[in-house]
């Protein structure tokens, strides 16, 4: 669509600019400010240059957290995206059962994140939780507070439980936009089920799937509340993801300088990876178009 050039449109954007400026720019400046200063308390600050950044880049702690975070986000995407598509393909197309599935599937998305944590914390407990109890009865030595593998498994299953529906609902919306004629034409062309998926459904879902992957990547990279409630970042530091580490550092230890430097690098990593995702996907889109 050809848009008219109109500089007065700035006035329409102004409220957003002021609001987001207030809630984003000022705090971000504060963070930048901390990141280049040091303090011995009493609100006396002095210039520390890029020392904190250097420290953080050399700190094993941050690299470990970043590594865990990347592994976690990759696993999450690898499970939730295919599973979400699979669920969407199997959802009823219309009628009562479609609404029924939609409502139940949306439910986990609207549960406060710490309650999600609480639910799984209870669910996985060996003494009172269904999952833990059944596993224990089956002779599996399961304990998410002691065992690293169990903790990871619990956190991952929790995230799959929490967010797969988002991917599924987006994919479902994409599927719903496919006119019946496509399926009919495929039948007439004698296309196999796989070819229907590969050449009709997947291309039509591509747009919404990109949104789903981006959203899931960003949110899984920022995950804090749910694992914090379930494992508290433990056992040891096994499930201490970036946000958990950051909050520990900033609010727990009040190491403002390193925390601020950490924050900025964290933010930059997310921006960078999201940007890479975004450009790669839009380029794929464009290449197809030519």
């Amino acid at each position: 669509m050809n848009k008219t050039v109109n500089q007065k449109a700035w006035f329409l954007v102004l409220p957003v600019l002021i609001l987001v400026g207030f809630s984003a720019v000022i705090p971000l400046m504060t963070v930048v400010n901390y990141s280049v200063q040091d303090t011995f308390g009493n609100n006396v600050f002095f210039w520390a240059g890029l020392d904190w950044f250097r420290d953080m880049l050399e700190s094993e702690r941050m690299w470990n957290a970043l590594g865990r975070q990347l592994v976690f986000s990759s696993i999450i995407l690898a499970i939730e995206v295919p599973l979400g598509i699979f669920v969407a393909l199997n959802m009823p197309k219309k009628g009562f059962w479609a609404s029924f599935c939609l409502v139940l599937m949306s439910l986990p998305l609207l549960i406060p994140w710490n309650v999600v944590g609480t639910i799984w914390q209870i669910f996985g407990r060996v003494d009172i939780g269904l999952l833990g109890y059944v596993l224990a009865k089956l002779g599996v030595n399961y304990n998410y507070t002691q065992n690293v593998i169990d903790a990871w498994a619990t956190v991952i299953i929790m995230d799959v439980w929490h967010w797969t529906s988002l991917v599924a609902l987006l994919a479902y919306a994409g599927l719903q936009s496919i006119p019946d004629a496509y399926y009919q034409a495929a039948k007439i062309d004698q296309a196999s089920r796989w070819k229907v998926f590969r050449f009709i459904e997947l291309p039509k879902m591509a747009g919404v799937l990109m949104i789903a992957i981006l959203l899931r990547f960003m949110d899984s990279f920022m995950i804090y509340t749910e694992p914090f409630v379930v494992t508290g970042g433990g056992p040891g530091n096994a499930t201490t993801f970036l946000s958990i580490d950051l909050v520990k550092m900033a609010l727990g230890q009040f190491d403002l300088g390193p925390a601020a430097a950490f924050s900025l690098m964290y933010f930059l990593v997310i921006l960078l990876i999201s940007w890479v995702f975004y450009t790669v996907m839009t380029n794929l889109d464009k290449r197809d178009g030519v």
Binding site: Q184, A185, K187, D189, Q190, K195, I200, D288
Partner: protein
């Protein structure tokens, strides 16, 4: 290629159809002769797409059977029926190239690659896209996409029937004409059974050997374009075909005379006494205008010059009517009467045409 037989076919989208209105397609018996080109004509919602989808197997009829060359295929899936269908809106596999799109139906049936390449090239030539075979289908115009859909429909040579569901809706007018000519040529060359659904009478009349007119879930007439024009079997056919449609006047018919608004109108044949709501129908082409003399009193509302001829809008005793005059013929000065070409008048009872010349009629 096959003869397609519809045996007591009917369809309703409801599970428990009750009244007559619940049936999208009312009971229907018909043979589609092998190798003929049919047009299925009707306004939207008359059941023509339903009928098409039943033939292609995308819908299972609620009642009756469908046979291909005498074999019952009512429960056979689409793939087994070996038909091709082109839809109203372009269906194109976006991520494939134009060539891959055309090859798709053949590939899925495991055809020989050499044969596929050959067919794709000849179809591409036909739809005029030889130079775009390697281009991705995404981003093409609706025109081009629909041409690909048409091409995909025609790529198989051994189909039982080719079905078209208003395929030219999205195509530019000049391209429409060209594609229709190509379809006709194709029919001429290969002799496929073709069924072409449309609501455009020009398309139907120029494409088909036989036109099937549908109205309200019912087939009201099957005939050649000429039959539809001269002897519409139902007032809907008279109204729907022709521009403007047939004029209808309430009348009483007795023998070879109809009485319209108290004026006697001679008929071309004599009729037995007809019951129900009786009307006579006469196409605007056969309406004559003159000043004084015999005929019905009429008032000229307006004259529209559409190029090849003039349309005269009339008020005949409260009933709207039209007359068509050739371009060269002037509207007679002071014209206040209309009369009709006797041979061109049809008589209708409750909207259905009444055949003339029964024994009773002659006796009277």
């Amino acid at each position: 290629m096959a003869k397609i037989t519809l045996d007591n076919l009917a369809h309703s989208y409801l599970k428990q159809p009750k009244s007559d209105d619940d049936w999208a397609l009312k009971e229907l018996n018909h043979d589609w002769a092998d190798g003929e080109a049919y047009a299925l004509l009707g306004s939207s919602g008359c059941g023509k797409s339903t009928l098409l989808n039943i033939i292609s197997g995308l819908l299972r009829p609620s009642r009756g059977r469908i046979l291909f060359d005498g074999r019952d295929v009512t429960d056979a899936p689409t793939a087994e029926r070996n038909i091709a269908q082109v839809f109203q809106f372009p269906v194109v596999y976006d991520t494939m190239t134009v060539g891959e799109n055309l090859a798709f139906p053949l590939k899925n049936r495991g055809a020989d690659p050499k044969y596929i390449a050959e067919r794709v090239n000849s179809i591409a030539a036909m739809i005029g896209m030889e130079d775009q075979l390697r281009r991705k289908a995404r981003g093409l115009t609706a025109d081009a996409k629909q041409k690909i859909s048409l091409g995909r429909g025609m790529v198989r040579e051994d189909v039982n029937a080719l079905l078209f569901d208003e395929p030219l809706t999205v195509i530019d007018p000049h391209m429409k004409w060209e594609l229709r000519t190509q379809l006709k040529q194709l029919h001429h060359d290969f002799g496929h059974t073709m069924i072409y659904v449309t609501h455009d009478q020009t398309e139907a009349l120029t494409f088909a050997d036989k036109v099937v007119v549908m109205y309200d879930g019912r087939v009201v007439q099957i005939g050649t374009p000429q039959e539809l024009f001269e002897r519409p079997a139902h007032t809907f056919v008279g109204f729907f075909i022709g521009s403007p449609g047939m004029n209808l006047f309430d009348a009483q018919v007795s023998g070879a005379t109809a009485t319209v608004q108290g004026v006697a109108v001679p008929l071309g044949d004599s009729y037995a006494p007809v019951a129900g709501q009786v009307q006579i129908g006469v196409r605007p082409e056969f309406v004559r205008l003159h000043a004084g003399g015999e005929g019905l009193p009429a008032r000229i509302l307006r004259v529209e010059d559409v190029g090849r001829h003039k349309i005269v809008r009339l008020d005949v005793g409260g009933t709207a009517a039209n007359a068509i005059l050739d371009e060269g013929t002037p509207v007679p000065a002071g014209a206040d009467r209309v009369s009709f070409d006797t041979e061109a008048i049809n008589v209708y009872a409750d909207e259905w045409r009444v055949a003339p010349g029964t024994a009773q009629g002659r006796a009277a």
